[in-house]
Amino acid sequence: MSPAGDPDGEEWRRLDRRTLLVTAAVLAGVAGGAGVPVAAGLAGDRPLAQAVGWVLAGALLLILAGTAGDWVRWRRTRYRIGPDRVDLRTGLLLLKSRSLARDRIRSVDLTANPLQRVLGLTKVRIGTGESTGGGESTLELELVTRAEGERLRRTLLARAAVPDAGHDGVLAVLDPRWIRYAPVSFVAPALGGAAAGAVMQVSEWFGAQAEVLDWIGDRFRDVSLPWMIVDLVLLATLAGAVGALGLWVEMWWNHRLEREPGGTLRVRRGLFTSRSVTLEERRLRGVELVEPLGVRLFGAARLDAVATGLTEDDEDKHTDLKALLPAVPRAVADRVAAEVLRETTAPTSAPLAAHPPAARTRRLRWALAAVLGPAVLLAALGALLTPVLLYVAAGWTVVLTPLALLLARDAYRSLGHALAGGHLVGRSGTVRRSTVALRRTGIIGWTVEQSYFQRRAGLLTLTATTAAGEGAYSVLDVGETAGLALADEAVPGLLRPFLEQPETPRARSTEG
């Protein structure tokens, strides 16, 4: 569909009228959610019917006023897909108009929550992929029909589409077996804690917190206190695992990663809320392979895109938009990484050069300091105040020292760097091990950092700055010469004029 040939191309359009229905329903939900605890609170010192009456009146007012406001917004909002520009006008008193040049548009993302899906509506976010412009570089249409959203996506991202049989097509489809990695993610304990917190909060609304605690106490009357704590933690973990499974299904059901003709990647996923994220390959600067500890122990990894223009959204959307794959077996992640980056072998699985032993020494020192610092503090307090703290300090040291040293060793083993084809690869981290493959042409500068201790140990931290993702990706604690040679080779010519050979080569070797 060529832009000029689209007969509807130049007329102003409105959002879908059923947007109002969605707004009213959402407000009703909000009113219901807030109304129940309020009614419960009011019912304490006046008759129930009166309390419910007040709350209902308030809810009705909220819904009517909110929907009326949204009606005004709907009336005043127009958008137009012109031959060169996309325009959006909105606002009652303060007229806002935003205009994006069509040739700068890099993404058209569709999101629909369950309510919107029932009505066949979707939210459209059109972005130019510029990370500097804040909100100015995106345009949101809330809401249009699904067909209209799909039409916008096709029209706005239709480039000179040259089908590329070798690379087009589906890159990954969800394998339901991947759900086995959901309970080992960090989401599970967080959800478990949240569930316990929610029980306490809701029972407090109804003034029944003490009864809930008593009830729990009764259940565990026959067991000792430590067992009760262990049981409760297990219970919370189980709840968290179930929650993580549910969340995974909602987030990743129907997941599909495909490359469309013309060089765009498209991720579709979601059970209730469906999301469609389109990413122009021109914006792609690399991928990040993330292995959180739990997931890594099971030989799995997650894959995120490193692309420009994904940072302008608020935090949760950010992680939402860059995800290419959920936790999947490592081999699958590597295969998809290679296909996404159009490399024959995956840069993320390239053999990495190890870093000097001095980097291990630093990590072991940090680990010991992290354990012994608090231990010394506890011991000092114990000597001054009560001997109990001395035992705590001893226990702390005995239990945590081996753990910290293990993590430090693992952190050192994780360090590595390589040049793989057109990509610079750097790996680091232990609790969250991350392997970043950054396109060498996407590197827009270098930062070389050296602390006092790094200078003494002959190490440096090499950071490649880029327009995409987090803006900078580091190779930590690499040997001085190895790091500078890596930077020089990755972007030929840039660093060379600023390099020199020391007149007297230092006797101390920086790499073992």
């Binding site: 940072t311 500068g445 930062t447 950092e449 006092y452 987090e470 840039l494 660093l495 050979q501």
Partner: protein, 166 residues
């Protein structure tokens, strides 16, 4: 590749203006004087805690003076800059030293700024940004006329470079 083939970054060619040391010292003194004065005034006013407050005011003053004597001259030795036809190269820091290099073709904006203290010392700061959210380079403590010349030269050089700098 180590040993006899060792390589390292050479320092950038130009030092910052010598007046920068005075400017940094003044900054250090101001940041020391404010909390020290507050503590001292409170010490005079609040009788029961006088000893503690005056002692901490003295401690803050001593630390601040040591800082003022020590760091600005170190910063002066480390802070250096250089602009070639291809790249901007800046080194900053003291305990943690940072060398930043940005190619001319990727530079997006060049700004000069002069705070009130900088104006007093006839200095200016040049900030060079790239498309990276973490890619800004700052050259502090330049003579203000030299900074203006530098900004002009950078603007010219970056204008000549093709591409959209991402």
């Amino acid at each position: 590749m180590e040993g006899e083939n060792a390589i390292r970054l050479r320092p950038p060619r130009h030092a910052v203006d010598t007046r920068a040391v005075g400017w940094w010292r003044t900054q250090c003194l101001v940041t020391t004087a404010v909390p020290a004065a507050v503590l001292a005034v409170l010490g005079v006013l609040i009788d029961p805690a006088r000893g503690w407050l005056l002692a901490s005011a003295a401690a803050v003053t001593a630390a601040g003076l040591a800082w003022t004597a020590f760091f600005p001259s170190w910063w002066y030795r480390v802070h250096r800059w250089e602009v070639t036809d291809e790249a901007v190269y800046v080194r900053t820091g003291a305990l943690w030293q940072e060398s930043r290099i940005a190619p001319m073709s990727r530079i997006q904006t060049v700004d000069t700024a002069r705070g009130p203290l900088e104006q007093l010392f006839g200095l200016a700061t040049v900030t060079v940004t790239t498309a990276s959210s973490k890619g800004a380079l700052r050259v502090e403590g330049l003579d203000h006329e030299r900074a203006a010349e530098l900004a002009e030269r950078l603007t010219e050089l970056t204008g000549a470079a093709p591409g959209d700098a991402t």
